[in-house]
């Protein structure tokens, strides 16, 4: 559906994205993840034909963004980063205008506008000026205009930025619903959003794709589950290190009354807290803390983007 090959964009001396390649299948929801300035927005601007790449190619549904921009633009709905809208228009007028320029036939325009108004829950503000709406409503108007022509591909640049937690949840559930039938690319730097919505994640840093895969795959790239244990016994660290289920046992600190605190990683990255407990019982150790912590996407993200 979306195919990107060797895409590079330079602004004067600085390189925004450098030789990026990826492929997105029809119906996938893909999260574009990366710190600010990583190249997410630049990638999206090229896909939407707002700017051209310095090198490389990008195509949507077989249409090249450089050679056939009109064909590409017809297939996409786009929500730019800061959700720019005409503040002097009311919601219905604006959506009707969007439908018109997006090529919705005049006899279907009214129906299309009504549909996105109900899909994006804008019923209460149809005749309000966009400039008078709250940020959350504006964001929904932005989404509504991106959906008005029922596009096959949705490109959403930070659709949740600046919203409160409830609004974020609404937008994410909307994206989830849309993802059932559309191909969606959305960018964010909030990881929980990606975990909640995306089939696949592309992590971009400094203009490069540093990792891609399902959220689960990416998490498994990290160190897995670490068990923190505070125990008292003889040669705890030595015995733990030689236990078959342990990959690595590291002493973190000495606790009070002869206890030591250790971080233990399982041999196959699994949670080994039960095995640890059994071992402690067997060896007659005293245990005052036993806690398993699974690495999150945040850890992966931090690891990949901090170099």
């Amino acid at each position: 559906m979306i195919h990107v090959e060797g895409l590079t964009k330079r602004y004067g001396q600085s390189t925004a994205i450098d030789n990026i390649s990826f492929h997105i299948n029809r119906g996938e929801v893909v999260g574009l993840l990366g710190p600010n300035g990583a190249g997410k927005t630049t990638t999206m601007k090229i896909l939407t034909c707002f700017i051209s790449a310095t090198a490389g190619r990008a195509s949507i549904n077989g249409h090249d963004t450089f050679d056939q921009p009109l064909k590409v633009k017809e297939q996409i709905g786009y929500l730019p980063e800061s959700c720019p809208l005409y503040h002097d228009m009311d919601v219905t007028t604006y959506l009707t205008f969007s439908a018109e320029v997006r090529g919705v036939a005049s006899d279907k325009r009214k129906g299309a506008v009504e549909k996105v108004i109900s899909d994006c829950d804008l019923g209460k503000v149809t005749h309000k000026l966009i400039g008078h709406l709250s940020k959350g409503y504006r964001q929904r108007v932005g989404l509504a205009q991106a959906l008005i022509h029922d596009p096959a591909v949705l490109i959403l640049d930070e659709p949740t930025s600046g919203l409160d937690p409830n609004q974020i949840r609404d937008i994410l559930s909307l994206i989830n619903n849309l993802g059932q039938e559309k191909t969606v690319i959305h960018s964010t730097h909030i990881l929980s959003e990606v975990e909640a919505t995306s089939d696949r994640v592309l992590i971009i840093n400094n203009g490069h794709i540093v990792a891609q895969g399902t959220p689960r795959e990416l998490m498994s790239r990290s160190s897995g589950t670490t068990v923190y244990v505070t125990v008292k016994g003889s040669d705890v660290q030595g015995q733990l290190a030689s236990a078959p289920f342990v990959k690595k046992a590291e002493k973190i600190s000495d606790a009070r009354d002869g206890f030591v605190r250790l971080a233990v990683q399982g041999a196959d990255q699994r949670d080994v807290s039960l095995d640890l407990f059994k071992l402690a019982v067997e060896k007659d150790w005293l245990v005052s803390e036993l806690k398993a912590e699974t690495a999150s996407l945040e850890d992966v993200f931090a690891k990949l983007t901090r170099g």
Partner: protein, 240 residues
Amino acid sequence: MKNAIAIFKKELRSYFSSPIGFVFIIFYLLVSNAFFFFVQDFFRQGQVTMRGYFAAMPWVFLFFVPAITMRLWAEEKKMGTVELLLTMPMKEWQIVAGKFLAAFAFLAITLAFSMTIPVSLMYLGKPDLGVIIGSYVGALFLGSAYLAIGLYISSLTENQVVAFIISLAAIFVLLLVGIAPVWLNALGSIVAVCEYVSLLSHFNNVTRGVIDSRDVVYYASVIALFLYLNVKNIEARKWR
């Protein structure tokens, strides 16, 4: 063309969506009428002609037309809406054409309100309506040339005030080169070039009620040139 019409409707609506459009028209009518009736002392002239009204038009438009065009691109750029506009399935020229036509329509509406003057003249005597109609057509040509220049300059900046001032300055220069030759006669052929380039010299025929095809070609070329530059400048965003 469908897309250009959609843009046209959006822009024209936007002129009247706030009181600014109406305030603009009223202010224009006040200034131009005051100029005609009081500064040029129409009542003492004893002639039912609008020649003085149209003679002042290049200078009145100098301030009014840049105000019509200044926001057309600059505001889109400032608000970021340009990104949505240019990612909709339209060609750049369709957007430029729509914006230009909307500005033209607004100017034409403003001029239409000044028709109270010829109506008054018809009560006072027998004005030569042919000359007046010819002058109105000429004024639309002149105004359109100003609009094309102003629209292009608006696409160069995201600051409306900057767009206004630079448009005013550019048009001012194009007017002045038509006056300069009087004391530049020594330079010979340059005078002819300056006179040809000037927006002003081509308007002199118009105030006499003559629509010369050479003047029409001149104004059409200025309009075409600046609309073309505008389209190219919008397309050039892709490579910055």
